[in-house]
Amino acid sequence: MLKYIAKRFVMMLVTLFIIITATFFLMRAIPGGPFSFDRVLPPSVKEALEAKYNLDKPVIEQYFDYLSGIIRFDFGPSYVYFGQTVNEMMADGWPASAKLAVAATVLIILVGLPMGIIAALNRNKLPDRVSMVISTIGVVVPSFVLATFLLYFFSVKVELLPTFGVESWKGYILPALCLAVGPICGIARLSRSSMLDTLNQDYMRTAESKGLSRSRIIFGHGLRNSLIPVTTSLGMTFAALLTGTFVIEKIFAVPGLGRYFVQSITNRDYTAVMALTILTSAIMVVAVFIIDIVYMILDPRIKLYDK
């Protein structure tokens, strides 16, 4: 088992290294460089700027500087907002994204899980049909399209919730809902099929023949065993939400990482784009790594390390 974890850890480092390298050289290769404005700078100013940001060094040296910076969790200065570092800007965006992610995850667990389990327990009956139709719709519609419909209905037609901004708690409702609907439906479908799988297992029949009560069978045996794939999927979802969801944050003007990412793309703030790309990918890659190990601990039947 340790051997497997070590192997996965090395794989993870290789992936991260490739991501950082690819990001760095792609961003460096963009023609123009960070200081080619519409207004032509005097050569001396440009040279001074490049010297300040170490852009006059050879690219390889810059690359190793950047790499060692990342190891110390230092993403360097912003090229657009002078005097500000990318770290400071990420620290600004972090709380809003995290709040949104937590709110959405709570929604997902509170709605998606019961929806799937109720559907599984009433297989092919009305609750099953209804929840599967809803979850098909929810999985299919992209989040920003859903956001526009919800925004139109709740903020324009009914004027119940604010159109944008997160000054009060009300501002979090719509963005969290938009973020949550897709995963809710995904989790509902997953927990339904996982629950159905479990219900057909032999140990469920054993539990029934032992004379256990129905709730004991469902919660003690069924739910516990069917939650394993759901937990791992939830982990991935939370990691994805944590890194900010670009479009939702942009639509609802949530001052989070995602909106900041989109902004830095529009502003051509390359260090910020690089930092956010690397950070987001790193969180995802690390999440996959952790989830794989958790999966193995939760379900001893899975022997990943045999591969």
């Binding site: 794989m11 920003f144 479009v247 793309i265």
Partner: protein, 390 residues
């Protein structure tokens, strides 16, 4: 057992007539696999409906832009933000007006054809009034928190009003006066074209890569799949964003960025299929008969794994539409003024209060297309799955 059993017995076993002799042989038309698939697909109403919807969307976006008689980039600034439904007010002398909610007055025809904008002669902002003159008559546009009203010279509301469809612009105009219908249809052309081309490229690359990896096995397989695994670990959306920042906006660039990131899953699928098939007896038989590897892949392995591949390709079309829309929405997709559904959503979201149709139209178009392709994909999966075959 009744009494005359023996007699009955003999009667029961009388010699057969000639045509009855064939009654025991199972006859009927032999149904090939694909005919069977088609039959099952036809029974699925949702899938048939989806095919119909997809055909309509394809036809509309292919020929629609030519039929509207307008170009997608032509601006009519005077006729900006015109809604699809307009309220025509008629004065006593028969002149028709259309009052835009943002305080613009237009001359119109009764059937809903807006002709020109009327400029105010003077304004009394203290009384919240604009004064217009037309055909020697004076009209007052009074605006307050309750709404906007057009009054005639006696300060009375115009006698008649009715709501009709906008005849110049059936689905209205956007914020700089471009025809929404043309842009929606043309945008569909771009969005669907991107989705189809990406899917076809994905299919070709994925099938080749996965097929070769799966068939050759051993170290080649391990190496090729390690590469895929590492690339898969990078979140694809971020990867596309990065590539688009590097490439810059444009239809061709978004195509390349999406193909680069989307062939991986297809390669894994094909490799898995090939791997499970190549150990089966009919492949061994083909090998024994001396069939060349290329021919085995093309004639035996791929046709047998075509079902999951078709389903995957069908389902990756809506995924590609969503990705393109998403990228265009955050300003990294196709380059304006060229429309795509994502661009239209991006342009419309700012006007969700004043002109909600500008965001709702592309959103509806995207949702409808996504539903149709997903239902078709699900239907195909059910129809192709041999385990459901009876």
């Amino acid at each position: 057992m009744n009494e005359n059993y023996d007699g009955q017995f003999i009667k029961d076993w009388a010699p057969l007539q000639k045509e009855e002799k064939n009654a025991e042989t199972t006859s009927g038309v032999t149904v090939s696999y694909w005919q069977d698939v088609l039959r099952r697909l036809r029974q699925n109403k949702l899938a048939v409906g989806s095919i119909f919807v997809i055909a309509m969307i394809l036809l509309a976006s292919a020929f629609g832009p030519m039929l509207t008689g307008k170009a997608y980039e032509t601006q009519q600034l005077a006729l900006r933000n015109m809604p699809p439904r307009i309220e025509i007010q008629t004065a006593k002398d028969g002149t028709n007006f259309f009052v835009h909610p943002d305080l613009r007055v237009f001359l119109a025809e009764e059937n809903g054809y807006v002709t020109e904008e009327l400029k105010p002669v003077s304004a009394k902002l203290a009384d919240k009034q604009f004064i217009y003159e037309y055909n020697g008559k004076t009209y007052y546009l009074v605006f307050s928190a309750e709404g906007t009203r057009l009054l005639d010279e006696n300060q009375e509301p115009l006698p008649e009003s009715k709501t009709v469809w906008n005849k110049n612009y059936l689905l209205g105009t956007d914020s700089i006066g471009r025809d929404m219908l043309t842009r929606l249809l043309y945008g569909g052309r771009i969005s669907l074209m991107v989705a189809f081309i990406v899917t076809i490229c994905t299919l070709v690359i994925g099938v080749l890569y996965g097929g070769i990896a799966g068939y050759s096995g051993n170290n080649t397989d391990i190496f090729m799949m390690r590469v895929v695994e590492i690339l898969m670990a990078i979140p694809s959306v971020i990867y596309i964003i990065l590539l688009m920042v590097y490439f810059g906006q444009g239809v061709f660039n978004i195509l390349i960025a999406m193909v680069i990131t989307s062939w991986l899953a297809m390669a894994q699928l094909v490799r898995g299929q090939v791997l499970s098939l190549k150990e089966q007896e009919f492949i061994l038989a083909a090998k024994c008969a001396g069939v060349s590897p290329i021919k085995i892949i093309l004639r035996h392995l791929l046709p047998n794994s075509i079902g999951p591949i078709i389903v995957f390709a069908t389902l990756s079309i809506p995924a590609a539409i969503a990705t393109e829309a998403f990228m265009s929405f955050i300003g990294l997709g196709v380059r304006p003024p060229m429309p795509s559904w994502g661009i239209l959503s991006n342009e419309g979201i700012g006007a969700i209060r004043s002109s909600p149709y500008q965001i709702l139209l592309p959103s509806i178009a995207i949702s409808l297309t996504m539903f149709a392709f997903n239902f078709l994909g699900d239907g195909l999966r059910d129809a192709l799955d041999p385990r459901l075959r009876k």
